[in-house]
């Protein structure tokens, strides 16, 4: 039976916190929280293929996705509206950075896909299982980052 390497929750949390702090500022820290109900407004995923095979996804409420977009694009809250294209772009870049850094913790070489983004929940391959999930809150709202791995026995 082959061994499948999985990232630890601590590692994933460290990666997510670094991305959050670097691009969204340290004023609103990302806080771990117990799993709860999350009304998914936007989600995004990247897949990793190669020596390690898996997927990293982020699920967010719509208001958080829009606030992240505002901060990344440096938009004025009062004046400028964020469009869905901008939100998809920002959420996609977020999962790209998280996924790329999770990939770097796993055995390589491997390749990172371009992000897939959805208004709602992105579809997930049927041959993966959840290896790690980080439930957190940011600016008072919940979000979920999860890592799924592909088990050879399922392929």
């Amino acid at each position: 039976m082959s061994t499948v390497v999985e990232p630890s929750l601590t590692d994933v949390q460290m990666v997510v916190e670094e991305v959050w702090t670097s691009f969204l500022g340290a004023e609103d820290p990302l806080l771990p929280m117990a799993p709860g109900t999350l009304e998914v407004g936007w989600s995004a995923a990247v897949t990793v293929s190669g020596e390690w095979q898996g997927a990293v996804s982020v699920e967010l409420p719509r208001s958080m996705a829009e606030e992240i977009t505002r901060r990344m694009l440096d938009l004025d809250d009062e004046v400028e509206e964020v469009g869905d294209d901008d939100v998809a772009d920002a959420v996609g870049e977020l999962v790209n950075m998280i996924g790329g850094n999770v990939k770097s913790l796993m055995p390589g070489p491997s390749a990172l896909s371009l992000p897939v983004v959805a208004a709602g929940r992105v579809a997930r391959a049927s041959d993966v299982v959840e290896a790690c999930r980080l439930d957190a809150s940011w600016a008072g709202a919940p979000l979920l980052v999860s890592v799924h791995v592909r088990h050879p026995e399922m392929g």
Binding site: D89, E93, P109
Partner: protein, 127 residues
């Protein structure tokens, strides 16, 4: 002094644009390597290119090999700014002709430090 920011994410281009503008650059932008090559072929030659690796149409690694294949563009400083952080990929990019490599996420200071090492920005004089 122009910086050409090459990234398929508008949000990332916006973040990089603010950083390098603060460092004294004017900016051009491209959403993929081919669009960036179009700028160069049109005579818009930057001092610096900030290059993502994973992009549709033409990735950053291919862009670097294309730039380095043209002697007329040899003075352009190429800096990868990417989530790709495997050692083998960093070595590959540097061997292809990238001068520097920054892994996302980064801070503005990390970009400034690299550009200072490359001699493209001056170190601020302490007050």
């Amino acid at each position: 002094m122009y910086a050409l920011i090459i990234d398929d994410s508008r949000a990332m281009r916006s973040i990089l644009r603010r950083i390098v503008t603060d460092l004294g650059f004017e900016t051009l932008e491209a959403g993929d390597g081919q669009e960036a090559l179009d700028h160069l072929e049109a005579g818009r030659i930057p001092t610096l290119c900030l290059i993502d690796w994973n992009m549709p149409v033409m990735d950053g690694y291919t862009f670097i090999t294309r730039v380095r294949a043209n002697p007329e563009w040899r003075d352009i400083t190429l800096m990868m700014v990417t989530t790709e952080s495997e050692h083998g990929q960093i070595v590959r990019a540097l061997a292809a002709g990238a001068h520097e490599y920054v892994i996302k996420p980064f801070t503005p200071d990390a970009i400034a430090d690299k550009l200072e090492m490359l001699g493209l920005v001056a170190k601020p004089v302490p007050a």
